[in-house]
Amino acid sequence: MTQPIVSIQHISKHFGGTRALHEVSFDVLPGELHAICGENGAGKSTLMKILSGVITSYDGILLVDGAEVHFTGTKDAESEGISIIHQELNLVEQLSVAANIFLGRELSQVFFFRDDRSMEHQAALLLRSLDCDIPPNRLAGSLRVGDQQLIEIAKALSLNSRILVMDEPTSALTEAEVERLYRVIAKLRSQGTTILYISHKMDEVFHLSDRITVLRDGQFIATRNTKETTASEITKLMVGRDIESLDLGPRNPRGDLVLEVRNLSLAWPGHARGYRLKDISLELYRGEVLGIAGLMGAGRTELLECLFGASTLEPTGEILLDGELIRPRHPAQAKKAGLALVTEDRKRLGIFNTMNVGRNISMCSLEEAVFGPMLSHSQEQQLSYSMVSKLKIKTAGLTPPIGSLSGGNQQKCIVGRWLLTNPKVLLLDDPTRGVDVGAKAELYRVIRGLCSEGLGVIVTSSELPELLTLSDRIMVLSEGRKTAEFRIEEATQEKIMEAATKSWNS
């Protein structure tokens, strides 16, 4: 048996209390294209960051060419010949192509003078070896995403990388660019480069890879030879995780139709796909939880933002609330119409860090706590208190700063903030992100309880078991389109994952 070029042995990584990786072990053989698959949060990116020296503290052993290594930075990894092409490209847009390729190791002549000529010359050679004719003196920012990605690959080649990690490289490419990337990959492989390829697009993985490793919940699940497996087996391995048995009691009976969306589309200028959302239609009834499943970038957040009038561009299509056409162009209008949105990114878009718990809760309903022109502190406190007790928020009164609460309790504060506006429809964007297990269950009960009061709830989540526990119906998005809708009785993790990984250009 050949010696593995990279051997990952019992690698674990914790972030605070959450486990990102647990005892992951597998080998990568020289010259192979090894695909790594897994759901959002399976630990793919964390593992690749360890491999490329971005994360430096972890447990376990990493062997390169049979020798143990422990990188203390990306430079170490680069000197071992490992480079990573991130999903979010890391180019300095204001610099030329050549300057980007040689960033941090600029060539120089005598003394300190930069040798732009020979850098451009070498950059041109590298790019030609990739069969592309980007002029090396162009500004990186003026290039299309696909070209920028090639610059990153050229940079990796200039570092003499033997092992290239690619993190979802096709997510922003046009079909023609994907074809070109495939050619570049074939060329790299003919030169003997080993490639670790992260993707959740099954067609790509099966087209390119020799072997596939599946991660789930930070654990190694299996490695399969691509020729001996099928897409549905890999999907099953990705999702086959236990559903926490959590009894939330009987589901609520469905009430009247409260929200209807017809053919909602949102453009995406400058992107290969051209749209963020395309022809989405959905219905929501009172007392019902509609789950929205989809992988990263499927358009879950964008859909909720459109409904809430928070999208930068105006969507097309119709939104009907209680049978009335609404066109919210500002969250204030959506709020007035009876919509409420709890955002995904709690730190950045949800909490007011400079304020205390009480003021965070009352923020959206201060108009109800006024006495003449004056804000009545006692009425405001009553409002906030009503939510602290209704949602059982664990806090020492209303005066501690919001940042001193746990993630789950901060989230409850924001839910409470919106409940005070008496909404008809509550939109929850990944409400349990960064919330620990016990608090999750409590949030589920809160959400169910709200439904029984006649609220319609839309929940997105990156965790399928959560959607299966919580929802009455589940709608699946993939690349901005609705690919399936299931009643809860017919929904399974496999079916959802299959619909979520469906790509439209195949």
Binding site: H330, A332, K335, L341, T354, L366
Partner: protein
């Protein structure tokens, strides 16, 4: 107990203590004993200056609390003074020449000037919200633009002169009267304090300053709030422009209120406003103004004549010290490393020079001054900082083991 601790840890309380210390130090060090001999005059002087700074510092503070910045207040003051003068000249040309402007014209001119202030604020809000300029750029443009505009206005309305003289001595005495000025200020300050701490709008302004995205997603109309903040900022500067015109006796738009915007920002920051937005109070800002004006006055008293030259130096030093100590954990001088790296070592000569030269500048004209003292002060500072740097470098080694 906890109430006492909260009081003690508040910026306002610390400022009052610091202010008392400055006053006591001045009483002790001032060789003319102005605070002893002439308490009323000294108090009046400080009050007048505090009030004049206070108006537009409050405006500036509201903008800072709401997450913006206003660099234009100095120019708006100069512009308002010239606009006020021009309006009186246009509305009552005869009275203007005769030295007795009619009351109607005065009232209309004041109203018109405040309206122009509101227009400048609206312009700022439009540049920031609709055009999408950063507040720094938008108000930098009006900082240079409005001063130039005022000079043009002055020149064209006075047929080529570079200043407008205040026409009416009676009116001037009313406008520069410290009692009237203070009453208007108290009313204005109370209104603004009420707005910021007792109304929904004030809470929304704070929320917008703390997290603009979250505020918008909470259904808060952030664009309207920005309009309000910048209008308050510009109108408060216009009030100062009107009073300063009377106080100075003339409006010289090329030099009037030059650089005052930084004093307003400094007073806000000293008073506890965070330049990141979301944090700050009106009482804190007023105390910040009082502290800043008092310490400037103190240095003038101690150093003697011509000390307004050092105003900028004092403001600079006070801002650096105030912000350093108000940073979280920055109050602990012992734990923090200031001089342990290359930059730290290289700044020591700079600080030594600064100390020595300041001594020379402040006390060079005193009869007891001798050059060796300045060298000694500089030397002592360098030695003390070098010793600290040495200790810091060593504590690093022991701290890691």
């Amino acid at each position: 107990m906890s109430l006492l601790r909260r009081l003690w840890s508040s910026v306002e309380f610390k400022l009052i203590v610091a202010w008392l210390l400055v006053v006591l130090a001045t009483m002790a060090l001032d060789t003319n004993y102005a605070y002893w001999n002439n308490p009323a005059d000294s108090a009046q002087l400080i009050l007048r200056r505090t009030v004049l700074l206070g108006f537009f510092a409050i405006g500036s503070a509201i903008i800072i609390i709401s997450g913006g910045i206003d660099l234009s207040s100095g120019s708006v003051i100069a512009m308002s003074a010239t606009v006020f003068g021009s309006l009186m000249m246009i509305l009552d040309p005869v009275g203007f020449k005769a030295g007795h402007v009619s009351t109607t014209a005065v009232i209309l001119s004041i109203g018109g000037t405040l309206l122009v202030g509101g227009m400048v604020g609206t312009l700022h809000a439009w540049l920031i919200t609709s055009v999408g300029l950063p507040p720094f750029v938008a108000t930098l443009a009006t900082l240079v633009g409005l001063r130039s505009f005022s000079r043009g206005l002055t020149s064209s309305i006075t047929m080529g002169k570079s200043q407008i003289d205040f026409p009416d001595t009676g009116l001037r005495d009313v406008l520069k009267n410290v009692t009237y000025m203070s009453i208007v200020f108290v009313v204005f300050a109370l209104l603004m304090w009420f707005l910021m701490s007792r109304t929904v709008t004030g809470r929304h302004l704070q929320a917008m300053g703390g997290n603009e995205q979250a505020a918008k997603l909470s259904g808060i109309r952030t664009d309207r709030l920005k309009w309000l903040a910048y209008v308050i900022g510009a109108v408060s500067a216009s009030i100062v422009g009107i009073i300063s015109f009377a106080d100075d006796g003339s409006a010289k738009p090329d030099i009037m209120a030059r650089g005052y915007e930084l004093n307003a920002i400094a007073a806000s920051v000293i008073g506890g406003c965070s330049l990141q937005g979301g944090v700050g109070t009106i009482p804190g800002t007023i105390l910040g103004c009082l502290f800043l004006r008092t310490i400037i006055d103190a240095v003038q008293k101690i150093v003697g004549s011509g000390a307004d030259v050092y105003e900028g130096m004092i403001v600079g030093i006070v801002v650096v010290v105030a912000v350093t100590f108000s940073q979280r954990g920055g109050g602990k001088l012992a734990g923090k490393k200031y001089f342990s790296n290359g930059i730290g070592w290289s700044v020591i000569p700079t600080l030594g020079l600064l100390a020595g030269l300041s001594y020379l500048l402040f006390f060079g004209k005193r009869e007891w001054y001798a050059p060796y003292q300045a060298y000694m002060i500089g030397g002592i500072v360098v030695a003390a900082l070098a010793a600290r740097a040495f200790l810091e470098s060593n504590s690093k080694a022991s701290g890691q083991s």
